[in-house]
């Protein structure tokens, strides 16, 4: 959590936070340089070599990941939740959202028919909870991918070109880093029309600076290696170096960032939905909490309405955090010892 926090400090501490990250590359670098010996005897094509190398990298990653109990727990939780979300159209059906054809009466307490009770429109809360997983996961995933994509692009370009250009870009990044992310996201979501994409965009464009800083540090570390010099000497251009050499080396870092970013994005999504800034036409966990508050669940003590969506948010966020930390510690052995 230390170096990957969205609120990671800038300046002095950010640079100390990025140093361990630059050491994560040995996990992949040896695999890049020497192909597996087995392929030496048989005439192999370039692509089969590449795939053999990738397979061995994945295998090595998994062997190390498997030893981390918290990471496995998070992964199992995620698999379960993803399964529930993906099968929701068959288990609960899309009409669980329908206000006009609600099966129950308003605000029923938990019963055999409605295990979690009903909302103010008489809809089954269990059904809504499962259906809401779809939007929460989707938004979290998309927002984290967007944020990490922006961060990676900015980080690689700033790290590759260097000079005054890099200084200006990092200055802008630092500025975004000190912005109150939530406030900026709220303002953006207010400014634009209410839709799922607005929320994705609002989270994505406000949370990329940490990734940019980490990726830039990693890019600089990678580019100081001799094989980059060889590539340039052989006539490789900027695009070739960035795309074929730097990008594969920052990918592990990007993976860890994305996993950790999803949990933050899911929390932010819930927050925005709770403030009424989400898409009003779809059910999400944050939106359910807003509905619960509007229905007076707090003052009348309807805890069964309020508790499940929050628990769901916390569980998913926790699962992604556990996975992200495990991925991080696999890729960064120094961190692995200390955690």
């Amino acid at each position: 959590m230390t170096s990957t926090e969205p609120t990671a400090p800038s300046g002095t501490t950010a640079s100390s936070g990025t140093t361990p990250a630059t050491e994560s590359s040995p996990a992949t670098a040896p695999g890049k340089k020497k192909p597996p010996p087995a392929t030496a005897s048989t005439p192999a094509t370039k692509s089969s070599l590449t795939w053999a190398r990738r397979r061995s990298t994945v295998a090595r990653f998994w062997a190390s990941y498997r030893t981390r109990r918290a990471g496995l727990l998070g992964l199992a939780g995620l698999a379960l939740i993803a399964l529930l979300a993906l099968t929701a159209p068959w288990t609960v059906g899309a009409d669980v959202q329908s206000v006009t054809q609600a099966p129950g009466t308003a605000l029923e307490p938990p019963s055999a028919e409605f295990p979690l009770g009903t909302d103010q429109f008489g809809r089954s809360l269990l059904g809504l909870l499962i259906w809401g997983a779809r939007i929460s996961l989707l938004v979290g995933l998309l927002a984290a991918v967007l944020s990490v994509a922006i961060g990676t692009l900015v980080g690689i370009i700033a790290g590759h070109y260097g000079g005054w250009f890099s200084t200006v870009v990092m200055r802008i990044t630092d500025w975004f880093l000190v912005m109150p992310t939530l406030v900026l996201a709220i303002v953006l979501a207010t400014v634009m029309s209410r839709s799922m994409w607005t929320v994705v965009l609002a989270i994505g464009v406000t949370s990329w600076p940490t990734t940019a800083r980490l990726v830039r540090a990693q890019t600089i570390a990678v580019e100081s290696r001799p094989y980059i010099e060889r590539a340039t000497a052989l006539g490789g251009g900027h695009g070739h170096v960035m795309g074929r050499h730097v990008l594969p080396n920052v990918m592990p870092l990007v993976l860890a960032q994305t996993t950790l970013g999803i949990s933050t994005a899911i929390l932010t999504e819930a927050t925005l939905a709770f403030l009424g800034l989400g898409d009003p036409t779809v059910v999400s966990w944050g939106g359910m909490l807003q509905d619960a508050r509007d229905a007076g669940a707090v003052s009348s003590g309807h805890w069964w309405y309020l508790a499940p969506p929050g628990i769901a948010i916390a569980l998913v966020a926790l699962a992604f955090t556990l996975c992200g930390r495990a991925v991080e510690s696999v890729l960064n052995p120094k961190l692995g010892v200390s955690r």
Binding site: M1, G11, R171, L182, V183, V187, T190, A297, V298, L315
Partner: protein, 353 residues
């Protein structure tokens, strides 16, 4: 935080810091250069905040004047008069120049909604937010430091795993949800638990004075502070834990042990002071963050602070007020970052020379 975020005050605070810090550290010129660089950066950031806040809020859809007169029959001339009154009929660049000039003088405009100067509204709500966030940050920093130290010193053990697990779980919880749940359990009352704490606000309004009033406010403070602490202490804990773990391999600790120091002394006098450095920065940054982060907690507990005001202003939308609050929140962040940057070389001579 409002007043301190104006450049003049930052400069003054900075001057005082630089002069009393420099002689102690010996290389005063190096420190001054470091400080000047950081100060310049902060000023640029602050200007960028002004620019963003101005242009961002111009693209909010919806006519603020129409929103203001909603439900009141208004003629076209009256609308035009209102626009002129708020300067909304001028060209954009002119509005921007006016805005910057006024903001530098501390004038953040007039709220559409409350028909009062934004600066006054913010100043009125500021103490409540400072009280809430100040108490919360002090408690969760102390808690995070203490638990983080314990966790790192006995890392890998049951206590460590339990500590980290609980902290991570609470960190994953949405703060507003935890707040609502606490209200249900401890304010509304659930089962055998009676309503122990008030559901919201900062005082009962029954007109207590003196010590009774202090107690009343403290009573109202408990649940919001518990919410902020529960959600926030994980960060301090994890930073303290990992920075102490980084120190624990250090040779100087072996030396300290070889000298025959007790384990407790090694920890307290040698390891922790070094590990504190990143954590101190973290705490300052948190101070800046928490003001903005309390938006939800203040909304849920109807705490009369800046966060609640922000929420109210957003729903209109009350442009000058949202703008002003945005500048204040961002300014607080910039100021806290600056303080952390300036403090760091004083605490750690290895940095910034």
């Amino acid at each position: 935080m409002t007043t301190a975020s104006t450049p003049a005050d930052v400069a003054r605070a900075e001057e005082a810091r630089a002069t009393d810090g420099a002689p102690r550290t010996g290389s005063s010129l190096g420190y001054l250069r470091h400080a000047a660089g950081k100060l310049g950066g902060a000023l640029v950031s602050l200007f960028a905040v002004l620019v963003t806040s101005f242009f961002l809020f111009r693209i909010i859809p919806g006519d603020p004047v129409k929103a203001m007169t909603h439900g009141i029959p208004t003629s076209a001339e009256q609308l035009a008069t209102l626009r002129r009154q708020f300067g909304l009929d001028l060209p954009l660049w002119q509005q921007f120049v006016d805005y910057c000039a006024k903001a530098l003088g501390g004038d953040l405009g007039t709220s559409f909604q409350f028909r009062a100067p934004v600066g006054e509204l913010i100043a009125e709500k500021l103490p409540a937010t400072l009280l809430l966030t100040g108490v919360a940050v002090v408690i969760y920093s102390a808690l995070g430091l203490w638990l983080g130290t314990r966790s790192a010193w006995r890392h890998g053990g049951l206590g460590d795993r339990l500590n980290t697990g609980i902290a991570l779980t609470l960190w994953s919880v949405p703060s507003f949800w935890l707040g609502l749940l606490l209200i249900i359990v401890f304010s509304v009352g659930m089962g055998p638990i009676p309503g122990l704490f008030p559901t919201g606000g900062m005082e009962s309004g029954t007109g207590e004075t003196g010590f009774a009033h202090v107690l009343d406010v403290a009573h109202h403070l408990v649940l919001p502070v518990v919410t902020l602490v529960a959600v926030g202490y994980a960060q301090t804990l994890l930073v303290m834990r990992s920075s102490l773990l980084d120190e624990m391999g250090g040779d100087y600790l072996t030396t300290a042990r070889a000298k025959g120091l007790r384990d407790d002394d090694v920890r307290r006098r040698h390891a922790v002071p070094n590990a504190l450095l990143p954590t101190v920065t973290m705490i300052f940054i948190n101070l800046g963050h928490v003001a903005a982060g309390s938006i939800l907690v203040e909304t849920v507990f109807s705490w009369p602070g800046l966060g609640g005001l922000f929420y109210q202003a957003l729903s209109v939308p009350d442009l000058p007020l949202v703008q002003g609050l945005f500048v204040v929140f961002a300014g607080a962040m910039i100021l806290m970052n600056l303080i952390a940057d300036l403090l760091y070389p004083l605490l750690d001579p290895r940095v910034g020379r």
